[in-house]
Symmetry: C2
Subunit: 698 residues, 2 copies
């Protein structure tokens, strides 16, 4: 997939200028000079050759087939040139030229037309308005960047071209290599989803990095990412996450950005590791690219200094994903035997400041033989007796004989040069401070945890879709978008949720009959499509205990409704089962413009309102996901039961969320819905939807 | 202060060996070779000279006075040598030799003896078991480190000597300089408090950094730090914060570590900025050392690339301490006039990828003239047309003409060398990624916020100390450490807290009389020093509404108490005012071994138990601190009133916390106390201590 772009047999550069000051010249030079083995055709209106290669006035004049066309010509000429590429049978396009959607107005229209031509000829296009792409396997550098990165196993995509240049510049000094390097630009055709798909089974990439500002096709992204992360770790930075950031994004490329909660849910549900900074993105990348995967979360530390050992142990405990390994007694005996008596033989192992490489050797050998160690972090502060390159070599040798990840934090810089070079050459990732090494290890542990999750199971409950369709049609026919209480009730029932028994009475006598059927005490509520806040007009009464009170209440509610809302249509009075108290939850759905239905769950009332203790997942939600969702709210212990309370009906709660997920997936026209409260009784005693609200697309 | 250690007129090195393989040789070389201008005396049992300087067999043989003695001799000889130093009139000691407290057992005793000699002669001592100290003002390097740092305005202290060497090594490459650099070692005499005091008015240090594992004198630390931070920012990293870290600390130096909550409170109350990693420690240090203080929290960004601008805007919003500056219309007009039309003239200002230094110049000039900008962050990604050193020069020139902090994030590395060198030379801190620059700015904003806090006011309520002293004596006389309910009540009353009216009845008739006096309904409780869990034996009844019920209840409670606890002493039955419902808080005190009384406040019940929503402060607590403490709990909105509830009596709540603070400060023998619940009524309606528990030191 995307072969024509990343590994074309031949490349034409439209805008290959002989003038070294032109952008097109720089791109052409990059294609020619970095070892690309295919045929290269400069296209220029007048030049007969560029950098010694025969130039042609247009792609149509090139005698041979062309796989990829890279376009660096003036905006006004792009459309015609791309049309010619289509005619020529070009398969891939990289449009570096800017002046499209990002400038708004006619640029937007120009981009639409461009995409239309691309689609008509079945071509694939990166850009427009991008830096280009680099592929170190085919040695193709089709960018105007000043640098070619080293070979490596990191695939990188970025929605910001400028960030690409900064990263290339930085990677050159850090000695970090890439397999593929893509500036996405306006992503009119090829976007993050296309690239994830293309890189899914890429043998050349051990980790995929993404800098994202906005995702266009949310559900597609989640679906593809979920597959890719089964095999390859994906680490992403999503910017524009705050209000200020979003304003900055919109003044930048006008990307549509989904809500932060939706992104959080999307990353959680697709196994993408979210980096909180550019630095963390690359710290994780190095660990994934250089080291074997982790097979557990137990970390051993070897250090020649106590302080850094404590810092690392703290960071491990704080990470939430790692624990400190506990050594077997054999390991401890070996360490006691082989290390000086002043050494600490427990984790973190302290080989003491005067340690030379031999002491690291014995400590690391013992630890790497311990079956209770899943990863090793080697810390070193340069001391008078330290033999730095030798110690690096010891680590390299031992790590090559074991399959566990080994990371280092040689702290300092001035005297570390040769040692750091050795470590990097042999793909031992080194971090200047121990906390950064730990954060990379935590990412590895998270990735492993994700890969060990069982296949997601999606419940498919037997429901009455037809009834819901009918109800929605009725609501629309009545010119409404919000469902009335009885309608919302029916929808819930059609999707198998339990509600309080309830029937509409049209007279006091009928109300008494219903109450007798349901059993006392009952709740009575005014039923009117025109009265939204029933309590405000005295339209709700609870705990009505006998027939006389039912009659009295009926007349009182009816009187008040007519008095306070003289024009309201009154359908009658609902007589409802009075539900026992239980723990109260809220289940809410909003529709995110990029990601679709986003389901929120939280303990009701102030927990949601004041403490914002809510967890989100995108629908459809799997059984595993709803379980994780519920357990990720801080107040989950209240459901499990605190202070000797029995546990709540968690299984029943999860089922309601899954049924809601099924409902909003079946009916994309639901733009908002709330179950508030969902009353949750004790385990095995069920859950009841007390009130529901559904709003359809206008 | 500590002049003899940091700026001595003369130094003797005990253990100055002519043998270059000895540690003492290295230290002596460091003293001789880095420009120290005082007199230097090598002390060696046999050598007649070391490195060309006349050697003496002991300090007593030196003909001139000695200010400072640096000791690098075998552990066994230290005590005698220090005794001689005392006789000689030496004022300061740096004991590099190890083998003291850190080895336990006799080492501990040896350190005690050492300290005794030091104190007897009125000397001051750094160490033992340390790397030594460096002072770049007096050019004294009295360490065995291989490197001398550059001059600078950062004062650094570390409890880990190895970390010192790592930092020296790293600073050499990063081009960072220090004023003072101290390895504290075992801190038998000079500790973090001594150094903070010594550096309080140090004209050579613009920021103080500390790596701390444990603080010995908590209250002293808070008191001194609070003064120092009024003038000089102090940034600290406290390791050993987690359980794993603490285990690592204790196997390291055996430092006593206080509880994490106590450290959090200590840092908050003394204005110390806590760095979460070594990297952040130095990121903050650079900003404080190189740039003028911030006078507000509004940050303007200039960038040549959208992506990094968004990343920085996100980080600013997330920081909690900064906001994005909003430009005046003049600024926007100037930017519109002077920048190309494709530029973004709102914050973050995007001068576009092809910007050269002139465009940065016009953008920065306009922004720096804007009165709504308190700090400027300049971002740059190296692009084809970028003129990096020229842009650096523009920033340097403009920043020298303004008093606002200017930080940069030139992203990349390879092509940035000369530009970064220029920036560093001219003290513009550069960060490889924008998030790190923002975190440094946030530290500056925090420091400013702290400095603007008014002088703390400590309430001093009129209380009855004598009564409490008497009560505690009674309790001890009775062989107890836990106060009975009535005793605890009396303590609370003696400190001016309101409790439900309550009297002890010894008969049913007396109970009726008391209930009539108090007013119905009442609460009745068994009163016995031997029954701790009153409810469990049916010993508490609420809502008793009339005289007959009071009589019945009296006999029932008495009967049950005798039945379930036949041996309990029964004092009678308490008849209490039944307190109206209100919001419930918990006010608790524990005594931290390092910091003393630690006062916790949280909303009662599950908020504390499940959500751990508690805020801590160290007593004595000022009026401002209690206000911040209460507002820092997540559930504070419940006190302010949610869903139309009236606000609670926050002033009354604060007063109770202050009275508790006064109580536990007056009586250090209180090791634990709880008010649970404190019932808080609506604003102006007061707060009532419903139940209190006090435990004295055993």
């Amino acid at each position: 997939m995307l072969e024509a772009i990343f590994a074309p047999q031949s490349v034409a550069l439209l805008g290959a200028s002989p003038n070294p000051n032109r952008l097109g010249h720089q791109v052409f030079k990059n294609i020619v000079e970095h070892g690309y083995q295919g045929r290269i055709y400069p296209i220029h209106p007048t030049a007969s050759s560029v950098l010694g290669l025969t130039a042609y006035p247009s792609v149509l004049d090139v005698p041979d087939p062309i796989d990829l066309a890279v376009i660096v010509i003036a905006t006004d000429h792009v459309l015609a040139a791309v049309e010619q590429c289509g005619q020529k049978g070009v398969k891939g396009l990289i449009v570096i030229t800017a002046g499209f959607k990002e400038v708004g107005g006619e640029g937007k229209e120009r981009e639409r037309q461009l995409l239309e031509v691309v689609r008509r000829y079945g071509m694939r296009m990166v850009g427009p308005n991008c830096l280009g792409i680099i592929d170190t396997i085919s040695k193709l550098n089709a960018t105007f960047a000043a640098l070619m990165p080293a070979d490596g196993e990191i695939a990188f995509m970025s929605q910001s071209g400028a960030l690409c240049t900064a990263i290339l510049d930085w990677s050159k000094t850090a000695g970090i290599g890439f397999s593929r390097f893509v500036s996405l630009g306006n992503k009119a055709d090829v976007d993050e989803v296309t690239l994830l798909q293309a890189w899914n089974e890429d043998p050349h990439s051990k980790v995929i990095l993404a800098y994202l500002e906005g995702i266009t096709n949310g559900p597609g992204f989640v679906q593809v990412a979920r597959q890719v992360t089964q095999r390859t770790p994906v680490v992403a930075i999503k910017s524009g996450a705050t209000a200020a950031g979003t304003r900055a994004v919109s003044s930048h490329t006008g990307s549509l950005t989904g809500s932060e909660s939706a992104y959080e849910a999307a990353f959680a549900q697709s196994g993408i590791i979210r980096a909180s900074s550019m630095e963390e993105l690359f710290d994780c990348a190095l660990a994934f690219a250089y080291q074997p995967p982790m097979s557990g979360n137990r970390v051993a530390i070897v250090t020649n200094a106590g302080g850094p050992g404590i810092i690392a142990a703290d960071a491990i405990e704080r990470s939430g994903w790692l624990t400190m390994a506990e050594f077997t007694s054999e390991t401890i005996q070996r360490l006691q035997r082989d290390l000086p008596s002043t050494a600490n033989v427990f984790n973190p192992v302290d080989v003491i400041g005067d340690a030379r490489s031999d002491r690291y050797q014995v400590a690391l050998s013992a630890i790497m033989d311990d079956p209770g160690v899943d990863a090793v972090l080697v810390l070193l502060t340069p001391q008078a007796r330290s033999d730095l390159p030798e110690t690096a070599q010891v680590i390299i040798d031992l790590s090559s004989r074991h399959t566990r990840p080994v990371l280092t934090s040689f702290m300092g810089a001035y005297s570390l040069g040769p040692a750091l070079e050795l470590l990097n050459q042999h793909h031992i990732p080194n971090y200047p401070f121990p906390e950064r090494a730990v954060s990379a290890l935590a990412a590895m542990a998270r990735h492993r945890d994700w890969q060990q999750q069982p296949e997601p199971e999606y419940a498919q409950f037997a429901v009455d879709q037809a009834r819901v369709r009918e109800l929605f049609a009725q609501v629309r026919q009545a010119g409404r978008v919000e469902l009335g209480e009885i309608e919302a009730r029916e929808v819930m029932e059609a999707y198998g949720m339990r509600l309080p028994q309830s029937r509409l009475a049209r007279s006091p006598e009928e109300a008494v009959q219903i109450a007798t059927d349901i059993g006392y005490p009952v709740v009575m509520k005014i039923s009117s499509p025109d009265i939204l806040h029933k309590s405000d007009v005295g339209g709700v009464k609870v705990g009505i205990a006998d027939a006389t009170s039912v009659r009295d209440t009926y007349e009182l509610i009816e009187y008040r409704a007519r008095k306070y809302s003289p024009n309201a249509r009154i359908w009658g009075i609902l007589v409802q089962e009075m539900v026992r108290k239980g723990r109260e939850l809220l289940v809410g759905v909003t529709r995110d413009p990029q990601f679709g239905p986003l389901v929120a769950v939280g303990m009701g009332g102030i927990y949601v309102e004041v403490l914002r203790d809510v967890a989100f997942r995108l629908a459809p939600i799997s059984r595993q996901e709803v379980s994780a969702q519920l357990r990720s709210i801080r107040t989950f212990p209240l459901l499990r039961g605190v202070r000797g309370e029995p546990p709540a009906d968690i299984a029943g709660t999860e089922e309601v969320v899954l049924r809601v997920s099924q409902l909003v997936t079946d009916f994309p026209e639901i733009v908002e819905m709330d179950i508030n409260p969902l009353v949750v009784h004790n385990r095995g005693e069920g859950v009841i939807v007390l009130d529901a609200r559904i709003i359809l697309q206008g």
